[in-house]
Amino acid sequence: VLQGCSGRQPSGEKRPVIGVSLLNLSNELIATLDQSMEEKAKQMGVELIVNDAQRSAEKQVQQVESFVAQKVDAIILNPCEVEASSPAVEKALAAGIPIVNVNSETRAAPTAFVGSRDEEAGRIAMEYLAQRLNGKGNVAMMQGFLGQAAQIERDQGARDVLAKNPGMKLIAVQTAEWDRAKAMTLMENWNQSYGSRIDAVFAQNDEMAMGALIALEQAKRKDKVILAGVDAIPDALQAVHDGRLDATVFQDARGQGSAAVATALKILHKEPYEKQLFIPFQLVTKDNVAQFLK
């Protein structure tokens, strides 16, 4: 369990130590991110200290402070929040430790950034719905945990598209807190109050999309509603493949993870690196789902 011992072993060449603070390891996407980083680190001979902030920006700041106190060589930060995680970045930079943000951004500029913009995910999903509805119809949106960066940005991206499509009406917006069971309950209640008036549903992540999907199927209304999620978790990909879910948006967590470790090492070895490496989101539908299913 306790991986290795200290990074500063007397014998041999000293291995670089990278401190990693992750948003939340009980999130499937983050778990994938973690896995790819650990694989990459092993391959490159780097020691990783992985801390889980469990969605708390304060904890994340604490963890970076601990990394600074431990004098790690570099830090990879998977920020909880745009603003609230910024002090973590500033503290690392002030201590002269390079910091790479992965997956999402902070207000304070890190040494390098690897990831994507959640707004894009919201935009892609909503554009897909707009296209399927020919720009006309009633849409319901399931929000993530209110106030979290991913929720705010995916919300924004989706609303930008809606603003451009006056024929599309947002008739219901509620949070299901990223949770499948809550999404199912919410969809059941929407089925009751809106009945056949909902033409499309955008769930801000796939967990909620799966919940909504089950509720719609049980109400035998799935054929009348277009449903899209974000993240491309295996369940959702399978559902897209089976023709149950209409679309999801793929976020390349594996690519982000290994790129983050690689970038951090480049910085340490004073090699040239990209200050901002955007790994784009991709729309997944039945047409292209095969390439995402492993």
Binding site: N27, Q174, R180, A181, I214, P234
Partner: protein, 312 residues
């Protein structure tokens, strides 16, 4: 004056009245609230919280508390799901495993509470963290999906037109009601919660009663985990967060005292119903999420306040 200042709130008429008022208001605002479909919907939605709440009623009656419910739901859901892939075992196997996993967690809680005399708050808080960790370990942090239809049927199927989760909830509630009001064990539960020293001096096997209460509560949390996993067709390691507070709230709204010894399953059912009506109603009214939270908080406190002021 022997009456303590914190009221005993026997299941009075206040809560049914508050519930009736709420239902009346909602059905005026939204005629489809009183649809049979929506009512079935509503009861199905509360069935998981209901099962948990009935379970934790035992623990609260003994004067304890169980904060580990939500995590136990996740752990047993994941454990069940691991054995519920198509073509593996008949559905009874994962169901039994889920319930057993929950019962094991509950028994561990009960052991430390009854033998170790550690405050139930701490014990079950520890279990809350530990069981969540175990759920993540067992599942590798990923949802366990691809479950056999025989298993997922539990959460989505009907028997004689009634959704199975509702039947399970009713069955659990009925059984618990009998256990608590007509059985020796029930008496002992009330005695332990009402005055532990007197129960001991009366020859009540206090430790075993506590063990049994926590184990039952855990087993029902396991059952709830199974129903949930089957309903959402996955074992989610991060399912059930905050469920313990919802369940305890339902019990306390229903008039069971956190100090133990007073209350029962009838109130718990009413409490769970009230919470379900609030959630369902606010969704139906499409109250904006932010206001929804404010309103929900106020209604819960208001309903209980009304209820309590009746018997003052």
């Amino acid at each position: 004056m022997e009456k303590p200042k914190i009221k005993s709130w026997p299941a009075s008429l206040g809560l049914p009245v508050a519930l009736a008022v709420l239902v009346a208001a909602l059905s005026l605002a939204r005629p489809n609230f009183l649809n049979l479909a929506n009512l079935v919907n509503l009861v199905r939605q509360i069935s998981i919280n209901g099962i948990l709440a009935v379970g934790v009623t035992y623990v609260l009656l003994t004067g304890g508390v169980d904060l580990s419910l939500g995590s136990v739901v996740a752990l047993s859901g994941v454990a069940a799901a691991c054995f519920a892939h198509p073509g593996q075992y008949p559905a009874i196997v994962p169901v039994a495993i889920g319930i057993l996993a929950g019962a094991a967690c509950g028994a561990a809680n009960g052991l430390v509470v009854a033998r170790g005399k550690v405050a139930p708050f701490i014990v079950t808080l520890g279990m809350m963290t530990a069981a969540r960790g175990l759920a993540l370990l067992v599942s590798g942090g990923r949802p366990v999906s691809n479950l056999a239809p025989g298993f997922t049927h539990i959460g989505s199927g009907n028997i004689a037109g009634v959704p199975e989760p509702i039947l399970i909830f009713f069955f659990v509630a009925l059984l618990s009601r009998v256990l608590l009001t007509n059985m020796r064990f029930g008496r002992y539960v009330y005695a332990v919660g009402g005055n532990e020293n007197a129960a001991l001096a009366s020859g009540v096997p206090v430790r075993s009663v506590k063990m049994a209460a926590y184990t039952l509560c855990g087993a029902l949390a396991g059952l709830a985990g199974v129903v949930l996993a089957s309903r959402i067709t996955t074992g989610q390691p991060n399912a059930g967060i905050g469920y313990e507070l919802d369940a305890i709230a339902a019990v306390v709204i229903g008039g069971t005292s956190l100090n133990g010894g007073v209350g029962g399953v009838d109130g718990t059912i009413l409490g769970a119903l009230l919470m379900g009506v609030i959630n369902n109603g606010l969704d139906l009214l499409n109250v904006s999420s932010y206001y929804q939270q404010v309103v929900k908080g106020l209604i819960i406190v208001g309903a209980v306040w009304l209820d309590r002021s009746k018997d003052r």
